[in-house]
């Protein structure tokens, strides 16, 4: 077991993790942060997306030890004050989800997109979010939510 110092949703933490433990396992099993979920286990579906130092990462592929010294933000970190994040509000307004399983990952990817490209074109949005799969197919609504956020 290894001990790492990291920041999870703004709060500094010392975590004891197995060398082969993924960040997703650490978030879900050790910290009970269940908003990030596993869909494919191979970094393709995007449902485990979290921000690491502001960049979207598939937490099913990243080892927990690699989070040492970094700041991890999960979906639970977005509305800690009780106020929804603008991205969450836009998703609600456009009903940019159905079953909701991919939604936390999708929202974190949108956070990454907007941090990188505050005013993305539709092509940029499609390209950036193509690694977040939604089998319910609610892509047009996600694009509408992003469009509105980009115009703000």
């Amino acid at each position: 077991m290894l001990t790492i110092s990291t920041t999870i949703n703004g709060s500094p933490q010392d975590l004891t993790v197995r060398p082969n433990q993924t960040l997703l396992e650490c978030l879900r099993d050790d910290l009970s942060l269940k908003g990030s979920v596993e869909g494919c286990g191979v970094g393709v579906c995007g449902s485990c997306t979290v921000l690491v130092d502001g960049r979207p990462v598939s937490s099913c592929l990243m080892l927990a030890t690699n989070a040492a010294g970094k700041a991890v933000t999960t979906i639970e970190g977005l509305s800690q004050s009780g106020e929804l994040d603008p991205v969450q509000k836009a998703f609600l307004k456009h009903q940019a989800f159905q079953c909701g399983y991919c939604t936390p990952g999708m929202i974190m990817a949108v956070k990454g997109l907007l941090a990188n490209h505050p005013h993305p074109t539709e092509a940029q949005t499609r390209d950036y979010l193509s690694g977040n799969l939604c089998r319910c197919g609610t892509y047009a609504e996600v694009m509408a939510a992003v469009k509105e956020l980009a115009e703000e």
């Binding site: 979920v37 494919c40 286990g41 191979v42 079953c99 399983y101 979010l129 197919g137 892509y139 609504e141």
Partner: protein, 772 residues
């Protein structure tokens, strides 16, 4: 303002955008163990020895179940035929079949200990090809079926004995031979579809434990709480009230979670471990657990020179994998619609469900219908092309209309299909015959448009029941076993209840399924929830409404007909001062401002088909849709790009238009995936693309640049507010609409084998060049 037809915020929406929903894999119980399965590496083998004794002694392992643990149980189960073992007994019939299930303190320990289970197999000849499997000399999967139909507990199918053909369904109209004799032109083609994945991003997951009293509790991501309860009660020989099934919101279903999958073996394991056990599948295990049927569709059509279709013969073989699951239902549901939503005087339709040594299948959005629609809608375009007719006009001329008698002998009600087709065609800018004109020469990239329509039944007879409880403060809760799997059922049901009780939307909540609390429902499948549970909920709320109005009439000294129930109060119509709040009514009725009023209703649809003749009443309601697509095909690379898709669905009445549109969007994308690239591939029964790296789901980049969802509203006289189901409606015509668009782009060259991948297009164009 009425709640009906309003886009209220989805029930559970805030929990979904904050990640606060607890899906089945998120559940944690005290002392919970983790399960892992040992699966067969062989597609067909005798099990000579299964020995878990070493694994049981491994530190951290608490229990292992194998065939030795089935004593005293009913060891076989299934929704139609009891042919699935809880864990493999004498043989395995597909790669990935569960031979043993192990519970350990952690997933890692469980994984490590699996290797210690010793199994000896003796390989048996296996069969994977659908048509080979149907032959009399093929290796037989279910040898016991040679003698008996024991275990068949659904009577509306024709079960075959002896070989791998599980069931047959037939229906006829007119005189097929005479019809073909009178035809001027005969079209005779074969269409194929590979298996595809449901692709729910949440894998199958369940947690089970036994209470000290002997009651079994299962939390499961299931579309079918009542069905899972029934099957577990049967396997463990328990009364149904000793089996409690709790269903959280699902991370997608699309049919893939309709039947018991993990629950039986998991319940057995939890009983042996005497602790809660959770089992969450990995993605490659999901590929071994369920999928859509592959199929071969043979379709022959006799046409008069003026374009009148006078005869159609369809034979469909559905490949159902190693166990029946709902294969016979699928084959039946596909059969009577296999000639399409058309009036054709002479028809002979037959469908077969066939076992193979491939992993199990199950219902998939558009159950059985996507397969036949792919065939009959491609044929419609070929017919129009050869006769020089407009494919739109040819369809319109033959489409079923209100009151027409269908091949099953029943009158069709609420038939909005002509509207669907006309509106979809208009939205894509359909120009008639010229859409089939030759593509411009010399250009690599060509465009084409295509149309397709579909008809599907929602099975009858089935039952849904609901209870509504009104609290004295004017808030209500609907108790229902309908499952939230993203379709928004709980939202539209809450709208229906709120409307009936005159309550604002915020005052109505809806339970999750919990069979200890919520009453029986057939399942959240077959696009049936709005129609069936909607009516049960409406009538349950109606009982409370009647109680409120009766008390109100007495207290307000008015006739019931003069009262209205709105904004949480009963008042005399036109005299707003004469009103009683719900709390006032509770006081009047019970002498207290606390308490509950109850309403309950069990809604059952009538009908069913005669298995011998195929005649009777097939549908609680029929649903209809049309699709129009425009594509761009690169003749050099064979790559197809979908530019525009329009889906038009007859919703009856859209209770929540936005959610109906989302259902159409999801159907459209799933249909597009199976049209162009989705395909499960096997090598000797071994899946070779069982991860999302190799099996592609449509991503945001695949979403067409333009997508329109049109909702046609042809009220159904029996639907709540006229509503029908929309969950599956848009899917079946997507693949043929895209196929027709590609054929029109390429001057009539047609691929009859899904998916239409670039290499197939290139091969067709090369073959054409050579033939010239």
């Amino acid at each position: 303002m009425s709640l009906i037809g309003t886009d209220v915020t989805m029930v559970g929406g805030i929990a979904k955008v904050t990640g606060a929903i607890n899906y089945a894999p998120d559940l944690v119980l005290p002392r919970m163990l983790h399960a892992k399965a040992l699966r067969s590496p062989y597609p067909h083998a005798k099990l000579l020895r299964v020995d878990a004794s070493k694994a049981e002694k491994y530190p951290g392992v608490v229990a292992v179940v194998t065939r030795d643990d089935l004593t005293g149980l009913n060891p076989y189960f299934g929704p139609v035929v009891d042919d699935q073992p809880v864990v493999a007994t004498d043989r395995v019939r597909h790669v990935g079949e569960v031979v043993a299930l192990l519970a350990a303190e952690s997933r890692e320990i469980a994984e490590e200990a699996l290797d210690l289970i010793q199994v000896e197999y003796e390989e048996l000849p296996a069969v994977f090809d659908l048509l080979e499997a149907a032959k009399p000399d093929a290796p037989v999967l279910h040898a016991q079926r040679n003698e008996t139909n024991a275990g068949v507990h659904r009577e509306e199918f024709n079960f075959e004995l002896g070989g791998n053909v599980c069931s047959v369904f037939r229906v006829e109209d007119g005189n097929i031979e005479k019809g073909f004799q009178e035809a001027d032109e005969i079209f005779d083609n074969t269409y194929t579809l590979p298996p595809v994945q449901h692709g729910h991003i949440e894998p199958h997951a369940a947690t089970a434990y036994w209470e000290p009293s002997g009651k079994l509790v299962v939390h499961s991501a299931s579309q079918n709480p009542s069905g899972v309860q029934e099957q577990l009660a049967q396997i463990f020989k328990l009364p149904e009230n000793q089996v409690r099934v709790i269903v959280p919101p699902l991370g997608g279903g699309y049919g893939g979670k309709t039947h018991a999958r993990l629950e039986p073996a998991l319940a057995l394991l939890a009983r042996k471990a005497r602790r809660p056990v959770q089992w969450v599948l990995t993605r490659d295990e999901v590929f071994l657990t369920g999928r859509r049927y592959g199929a071969v569709v043979k379709i022959k059509t006799g046409v008069k020179r003026d374009g009148t279709i006078i005869a159609r013969e369809v034979q469909v073989f559905y490949e159902i994998g190693a166990y029946a699951l709902n294969g016979p239902v699928n084959a039946k549901t596909g059969c009577y619609v296999s000639s399409g939503p058309y009036n054709i005087p002479n028809r002979s339709l037959s469908t077969y469900s066939v076992y193979t040594n491939l992993p199990p299948t199950g219902p998939f959005r558009g159950v059985g219908v996507s397969h036949v629609c792919w065939a009959y809608e491609s044929e419609m375009d070929d017919i129009a092309r050869r006769l020089g007719l407009d494919p739109l006009a040819l369809r319109l001329r033959h489409l079923v209309k209100e009151g027409d008698v269908f091949v099953t002998g029943e009158k069709l009600v609420s038939v909005g299909i002509t509207d669907c087709l006309q509106r979809a065609a208009a939205a894509i800018g359909w120009k008639g015959k010229e859409e089939q004109s030759a593509p411009p020469a010399g250009k690599d990239v060509v465009r084409g448009k295509g149309l397709a329509v579909t008809i599907k039944s929602t099975t009858t007879p089935t039952t849904s029941s609901a209870q509504v409880r009104l609290n004295a403060d004017g808030s209500a809760i609907l108790l229902t076993s309908s499952v939230d799997m993203g379709q928004g059922a709980l939202t539209s049901l809450a709208q229906i209840v709120g409307d009936e009780l005159g309550l604002p939307f915020e005052k109505v909540s809806v339970s999750f399924p919990d069979t200890d609390i919520t009453p029986y429902d057939k399942s959240s499948s077959s696009s049936r929830t709005t129609f069936h549970m909607g009516q049960a909920a409406q009538k349950a709320a109606g009982e409370i409404r009647n109680q409120l109005l009766e008390v109100g009439a007495k207290k307000l000294e008015a006739r019931i007909e003069d009262l209205e129930l709105r904004d949480g109060a009963v008042s005399v119509r036109g005299v707003p001062d004469r009103r009683l709040s719900i709390t006032d009514i509770f006081k009047a009725r019970f002498g207290s401002s606390v308490g509950s009023m109850f309403g309950g209703y069990c809604f059952k649809t009538e009908g069913g088909l005669n298995a011998r003749t195929g005649k009777g009443k097939a549908a609680a309601f029929w649903f209809f849709s049309a699709c129009a697509a425009e594509v761009e095909v690169d003749r050099e690379t064979g790559k197809t790009r979908v530019l525009r898709i329009v889906t038009a669905v007859d919703a009856g009445k859209a209770i929540h238009p936005k959610q109906c549109g989302l259902q159409n969007e999801g159907s459209m994308l799933s249909g597009m995936g199976s049209a162009l690239f989705e395909e499960m591939v096997y090598d000797n029964g071994q899946p070779i693309n069982s991860s999302f790296l190799e099996y592609m789901l449509p991503s945001m980049e695949d979403h067409p640049a333009e997508f329109h969802s049109i909702l046609v509203e042809t009220p159904h006289p029996k639907g709540p507010h006229g509503a029908k189901g929309v969950g599956e409606a848009a899917l079946p015509p997507v693949a043929p609409a895209i196929g027709n668009a590609i054929a029109n782009a390429l001057g009539g060259i047609r691929c009859r084998d899904l998916p239409i991948k670039p290499d197939k297009i290139v091969a067709m164009l090369d073959a054409l060049k050579e033939s010239r």
